[in-house]
């Protein structure tokens, strides 16, 4: 086995060479377009980069972990980390629950079900900036529908001003993101559901399984691959959140809604500390790396099953 492996690297038979030729273009593309920026970003994160030495390129001084030390002593980092996780986990939970419920609903074939499902996707195809602006207006205390509605029902006495208070501001982008993400979850789960054969349910029904049992014993286990990809993709998309926050609050009030992506952006492109911005991006990278590793493990388990 070991012998074969070394051979695999250095001594190709004709078939492998042809195979290699086929993947070469893709490989080169990946290395240049994706690999290079990542490597560059890591290098950047160990360099001292500010307005005064940006143009020097490679000659910029290396400062070891200096940038990481700087961002770990920056009081915005803990807020950004906490917000990013809160944002991701809360969004993911509600998107998934509502997405699942809607997927189950539309799986029952009823009049106009396909049309309605198609219409629901609108919230997902809408440009993020538009969604963010819509929610910004809806959450405005003076003219927004949310506060007016809550006041009408008597739940609150005066407008909350969701985006204007540090405690509530992060919920604005979370609402917007949940609303945006539900159709995405629904679509992927629907596809998964349509892959489950009717016959399984039929025979379960004959055996006396009720709807709840059918859901937990049949639907969920058979839907596992779809659920996993929905959650992992959802996590990755949500974790990188930028537009919702940037448009709705620009990270404010004060720093209450700062997330990793906006923090990195501001360090790099507003203060021109590219090294520190890169360091924040790399922390984001490491977290997603861990998520991807967990995902890989789960997939491998699945395959060996």
């Amino acid at each position: 086995m070991t012998k074969k492996k070394t051979k695999f690297l250095f001594n190709f038979d004709k078939q492998s060479k042809v195979g290699l030729a086929f993947i070469l273009p893709a490989l080169v593309y990946m290395i240049i377009m994706v690999g290079y920026p990542i490597v560059y970003n890591w290098v950047l994160s160990f360099q001292d980069v500010s307005v005064f030495n940006m143009a020097q390129g490679v000659k910029r001084p290396f400062i070891g972990l200096g940038n990481y030390r700087m961002i770990f002593s920056n009081d915005v980092l803990p807020i950004a980390l906490k917000n990013t996780f809160t944002y991701t986990i809360v969004s993911l939970f509600f998107q998934f629950v509502f997405g699942m419920l809607l997927a189950l609903l539309f799986n029952k074939k009823f009049f106009l079900s396909k049309t309605l499902r198609g219409l629901l996707v609108i919230s997902w195809v809408m440009p993020t900036t538009v969604t963010a602006l819509l929610f910004k207006y809806m959450l405005s205390p003076d003219a927004g529908i949310v506060d007016s509605f809550l006041m009408m029902t008597g739940l609150i006495k005066e407008p909350v001003g969701w985006l204007l208070k540090e405690k509530t501001a992060i919920w604005g982008p979370i609402f917007a993101n949940i609303w945006t993400g539900i159709p995405f979850n629904m679509l992927l789960l629907s596809t998964g559901l349509s892959g489950i054969s009717e016959e399984v349910y039929e025979s379960a029904g004959i055996d006396g399984a009720n709807a709840l049992q059918q859901f937990f014993k049949i639907t969920l286990p058979l839907l596992r691959p779809a659920i996993m990809s929905v959650l992992v993709l959802g996590f990755v998309y949500t974790f990188k959140v930028f537009e919702h926050i940037f448009v709705m609050t620009a990270g404010g009030p004060v720093n209450a809604t700062e997330v990793m992506a906006t923090f990195s952006y501001k360090l790099s492109f507003r203060n021109y500390y590219f090294g520190q911005g890169a360091a924040v991006a790399n922390i984001l990278f490491l977290i997603l790396f861990c998520v991807a590793l967990i995902y890989l493990r789960l997939i491998r388990k699945e395959e060996s099953m």
Binding site: M30, M33, V34, G35, Y36, P37, I38, Y40, N41, L44, S50, V51, F52, M54, A55, G57, K136, S140, P141, D142, G161, L163, L164, K165, E166, V236, K240, T249, A250, G251, G252, P253, V254, N255, A261, S264, Y265, K266, S268, F269, R270, N271, Y272, Y273, F274, G277, A278, V280, A281, L284, F285, L288, F289, A292, Y295, L296, I299, R300, E303
Partner: protein
């Protein structure tokens, strides 16, 4: 083998995910242009895209040069008409192509361009942003060229915003400042005849307005966590006799407390912390506020949104002295001009000539930074613009400092902390002063 395949697949997935979050460095390389329809459609010159590297033709008579800017709407059209005019001059040395990029994108492209070399020959920046790029080495020193201009006398603060370590790197093309806009009808309805001159009088007027018409906010200003909040707060800071490098002085605290008083009494909406200056204009135009602090660049918007609005422009009420913030843009010659400096300067000096400066600024409703152009030359019989020019005498530019964006970020945080009540004025001001001191050393 299966393991290898799944590993490769996994890595591909991972790398794909990360590619998108790698701090934008890679992104902007790929997203080539953000075209603006209005500009692109009617640009008369050959349709060069931003991606093509600067076209230099030493042999040809006219050099093709790029000019990047962040203007949209009316200003973009005005700039475009100026460029079209230049491009028709028979004895010109260059042919200019305009390229619009949204402001954040533009600044990003400049910063990346310093590293990659992908820069326009002529770069437009806000006056507060100029020194960052000067420090980065984006510009060519044009001190001698500026001094040799026929009329080299510019508003000192405007010119100084492009001066780094004694060298001139860019020149102002437009200036503007903030003033107080007053809705005359609302004032009359509330029985106010005397316009506020001091801070105390402003509070009095606000109080009366609030009592007479509780549904309308007496004043609107922008306090969103961008450059807008700093731009709008500085007049108060300057008027109290402080500046951005003395944030913990009693004067600065007085200014911060004054803004807090406006907010605490409900004279400004609590929503101001999410309003940009454009949002403020919309509020004023819609009659949701009786007064606003804003600049003359809003005139076309007001005309559009509320053509019948009866308003007047007065100086921002003062504490110790009148004050305002000087806005506007500079143009600079970048290192991409190498070998074509004369051709590029031919265009830049044309833009800076009295005729062009007068025409461009009059079209835009802004103030020419060239002091050879008098109020009477530019806006005869125009009360509104005269008022802005009067206010401009007291206007000071932000910075100038190469790390202004960072300083501005600290000020933004400080003012928002105070407006939202996260920290006390003293605490927040002290914190800001310490951070700023650490930056300017």
């Amino acid at each position: 083998m299966k393991k290898v395949v799944s590993l490769i697949l996994g890595l591909t997935l991972l790398v794909g995910m990360l590619g998108a979050c790698a701090s934008g460095t890679d992104k902007s390389g790929k997203t080539a242009t953000v075209p603006n329809e209005t500009v692109e459609e009617s640009t008369t010159t050959d349709s060069t895209t931003t991606d093509s590297t600067t076209t230099e033709s030493p042999s040809g008579e006219k050099v093709d040069i790029q000019f990047w800017h962040h203007h949209s709407g009316g200003t973009a059209e005005n700039l475009e008409s100026m460029i079209n005019k230049y491009n028709k001059l028979p004895d010109r040395k260059a042919t200019v192509t305009l390229q619009y990029l949204p402001k954040n994108e533009l600044l990003k492209r400049y910063a990346l361009g310093v590293i990659s070399g992908d820069l326009p020959e002529v770069a437009l920046t806000d006056n507060a942003d100029t020194l960052s790029f000067a420090a980065m080495g984006m510009y060519v020193d044009i001190t001698d060229r500026v001094n040799a201009l026929e009329h080299p006398d510019f508003l000192p603060h405007a010119l100084n915003s492009g001066n780094y370590n004694g060298k001139q790197y860019s020149v102002p093309i437009r200036s503007n400042c903030l003033a107080l806009w007053v809705n005359n009808d609302m004032m009359t309805e509330a029985g106010i005849t005397e316009m506020p001159v001091t801070w105390d009088e402003l509070l009095e007027v606000c109080k009366t307005l609030k009592e007479k018409n509780p549904n309308v906010y007496p004043l609107a200003l922008s306090a969103v966590k961008t450059e807008d909040i700093v731009f709008q707060f500085l007049p108060f800071l300057f008027s109290a006799g402080a500046s951005w490098d003395t944030m913990d002085s009693p004067e600065a605290i007085e200014a911060l407390d004054f803004v807090k008083t406006l907010s605490d009494n409900g004279y400004i909406s609590m929503e101001v912390i999410n309003w940009s200056q454009n949002d403020v204009e919309k509020q004023f135009a819609a009659g949701n506020s009786a007064m606003m602090i804003n600049g003359s660049w809003q005139l076309p918007n007001i005309k559009n949104d509320a053509p019948d609005l009866n308003y007047s422009i007065i100086k921002i009420p003062m504490n110790k002295e009148y004050a305002s913030t000087l806005g506007g843009e500079n143009i600079g010659m970048t290192i991409a001009s190498e070998g074509n400096e004369d051709a590029v300067w031919d265009f830049m000096s044309w833009m800076e000539s009295l005729d062009s400066s007068l025409e461009y600024n009059t079209l835009c409703g802004t103030i020419s930074p060239n002091m050879a152009i008098t109020k009477e030359m530019q806006y005869p019989d125009n009360e509104v613009m005269s008022a802005f020019i009067d206010q401009a005498q007291y206007a000071v530019a932000r910075g100038p400092h190469p790390k202004w964006p960072e300083i501005s970020g600290i000020l933004q945080e400080c003012i928002q902390e105070i407006l939202t009540g996260t920290k006390t004025t003293k605490e927040s001001a002290k914190n800001a002063a310490e951070k700023i001191a650490a930056i300017i050393g």
